[in-house]
Symmetry: C2
Subunit: 165 residues, 2 copies
């Protein structure tokens, strides 16, 4: 059960922070957005304690942000995928990423580039394509590793998982 | 000094979360964005422990997100205002607010309405005016209390402070 830390705050920001403000939740969601769906892969990539990861995933499932999909029987194993409610968090992650690219960027440059599928232009943190000017939603974009990507980057880990399975 | 909880994560999201992922930081920034600038007013409105508020404000000043401006001498007292780096966090707060309005809304409706100054249209979480279609930045918008605003709403508190000073 989520501790309602902001109980006296009647506010949509406080309401959202009760869920996504929990430590690790946004980094877990980042990895799922970028193609990492299984418990062990999330755990290895994030370097997070297993019990903490389990708690966060349970919370995100209980709150309808992620859903479990069985990919194996005996023993039954699940992948975690975003629901529609979870997909709606993309603008939050993207705006945080854009701010971090500008103000907290790793020395090598942007770790992740978000591109418009239609024209290949770069999409800014508000979802505007810098080449064609269109507003690009989650279905219209793709992410690729940028110049600041390091080996542990979730996109590189996701690609490694796909090629080894 | 900020504990670097996400130390092994080379990522602009992790970098940003080191600062704004700290508990309370985004709610403090929300209040400053909505017009509350003084320590005691922030403390009363948020119901946050004074030492915690002091730590968070010091961190946000150290990181260049907020700046202190003296408004009184003997004893010297300060207001907290957003820097350019802080203003760049508006899309993060607005996208969180939009998600909360949709998925974690208080029963009374949206607590805060963001409007386009030019045309009065409502501005969505990506900064697009729903009436005229323009992209509206921080300088182009104003916030007003929505149907779900309660007496403790930061905009109502800020208005109360202005009228009593």
């Amino acid at each position: 059960v989520l501790k309602r830390t902001y109980d006296n705050q009647v506010c949509s920001i406080a309401g959202a922070l009760e869920l996504i403000g929990e430590r690790w939740s946004l980094l877990i969601l980042r990895d799922v957005f970028l193609g990492i769906h299984r418990f062990d892969d999330l755990q290895r990539g994030l370097g997070i304690a297993r019990n903490v990861l389990r708690d966060r995933l349970n919370l995100l499932v209980d709150e309808g942000v992620l859903e479990r999909r069985a990919y194996q029987e005996r023993p039954q194993r699940f992948e975690y995928h975003l629901t529609a409610k979870g997909n709606d968090l993309w603008p939050v992650l993207h705006s945080i990423m854009a701010w971090g690219d500008k103000h907290a960027q790793p020395p090598g440059g942007a770790p992740t580039i978000v591109e418009h599928r239609d024209c290949g232009g770069r999409v800014d943190g508000r979802g505007v394509c810098e080449r064609c000017g269109d507003l690009a939603g989650l279905a219209d974009i793709k992410a690729r590793p940028g110049p600041g990507a390091v080996p542990g980057h979730p996109l590189l880990r996701a690609a490694g998982l796909r090629s080894s399975s």
